[in-house]
C-alpha cells in the first residue's frame, strides 16, 4: 500500500512539473526540435533542471543499500547498444516530432487534451503492445 501511495505521489509531482514547465504544450516541444526555425530552448532548461535533483538522488542511492520501502536500487544496465535501443529511440523521436507528445506529457494532459490527446494515447498504447513480442 505504501508503495502504491508513494508511486502516486511521484506521479502527481511529475504531472505538476510537466504542467509548470510547459511540456504539455506540444508547440514548445516541436519548437525545441525545430533547430532551423524559431528554436525554443525551453525543453533544454526542463531537462537541465530535472537532472539536478536526480543526480543528487543517484549519489544518495549509491551510499545506501536499499530504498526507503525496501528493495535494491536499479543496477546500471550494461552498455549494450542494439537495434532495439537505437532504432526504437529513433522511431520515438520521429513520433515526438510529428505530434509534440512524449509519453509523460501525453498522459498528464489526458483530462484537457481533447479528442486529439485521446487518439494519441490510444495509438501509443497500441504501439506499446506491438513492441511487446520484440522486447528481449
Amino acid at each position: 500500500m505504501a508503495r502504491t501511495l508513494f508511486a502516486a505521489l511521484a506521479g502527481a509531482i511529475f504531472g505538476l512539473g510537466l504542467m509548470l514547465s510547459g511540456m504539455t504544450d506540444t508547440r514548445s516541444v516541436q519548437g525545441f526540435l525545430d533547430i532551423f526555425g524559431a528554436w525554443n530552448p525551453t525543453l533544454a532548461f526542463v531537462m537541465g533542471g530535472a537532472m539536478i535533483p536526480m543526480a543528487i538522488a543517484w549519489r544518495v542511492a549509491a551510499r545506501r543499500k536499499t530504498a526507503a520501502l525496501g528493495g535494491s536500487f536499479p543496477a546500471m544496465p550494461p552498455p549494450r547498444f542494439d537495434i532495439n535501443l537505437i532504432g526504437g529511440s529513433a522511431a520515438f523521436g520521429a513520433g515526438w516530432a510529428l505530434t509534440g507528445f512524449c509519453p509523460g506529457p501525453a498522459l498528464a494532459s489526458l483530462s484537457f487534451g481533447g479528442w486529439q490527446g485521446l487518439v494519441f494515447i490510444a495509438a501509443m498504447a497500441g504501439g506499446a503492445l506491438l513492441a511487446a513480442p520484440l522486447r528481449r
Binding site: 544496465p77 515526438w96 510529428l98
Partner: protein, 138 residues
C-alpha cells in the same frame, strides 16, 4: 521578456524531485512509457504502476480546473495515430523515453540513456527539419 525558460527550469526541478522520490523511496526509475507498457502488455501490473499513472493523470486534471490548459496538438488524426504508434512502439522497444532514458539515465551517466537520448533527439530534429523546412508541411 520571454520567461518560458524560467518556468521550464522550475518545472524541471519539480520533475526531477518526483524522479528522486520514486528512486529513493520506491527504488524505481520513473518512466511513464514503462508504466503504460507494463500495464498494457501485463508484464508489470503492480500497484506502483497503477498508482504512478493515476497520480500523473489525476493531479493535472484537478490543476486544469484552476488554470485552463491546452496541448495545442494537431487535429490531423492520421498524424496523431502514426505519431502515437511510433512513440508507443519506439519507447517500449528502447525500454525508455525522455523520462527514463533522459532524466533518470543521463543524470547517472548511463551509457544506454545517453545513446538513446541522442537517438530520439537527433531523429526528432531530422524529422522536424524535413517536415517543416524541406517539405514545408506542419
Amino acid at each position: 521578456m520571454d520567461i518560458n525558460w524560467l518556468y521550464g527550469l522550475l518545472g524541471g526541478l519539480v520533475i526531477g524531485t518526483a524522479g528522486a522520490i520514486y528512486l529513493l523511496v520506491n527504488g524505481r526509475i520513473m518512466g511513464p512509457s514503462g508504466s503504460l507498457g507494463g500495464l498494457m502488455d501485463g508484464s508489470d501490473r503492480s500497484g506502483e504502476q497503477w498508482g504512478f499513472v493515476a497520480g500523473l493523470i489525476a493531479v493535472p486534471a484537478v490543476a486544469a480546473l484552476i488554470i485552463p490548459m491546452q496541448t495545442y496538438a494537431t487535429s490531423n488524426w492520421a498524424v496523431l495515430v502514426i505519431g502515437g504508434l511510433l512513440v508507443g512502439f519506439g519507447t517500449r522497444l528502447a525500454n525508455g523515453c525522455t523520462s527514463g532514458h533522459g532524466v533518470c539515465g543521463i543524470s547517472r551517466l548511463s551509457p544506454r540513456g545517453i545513446v538513446a537520448s541522442a537517438s530520439y533527439v537527433g531523429a526528432g530534429m531530422v524529422v522536424m527539419t524535413v517536415l517543416r523546412h524541406v517539405w514545408g508541411v506542419m
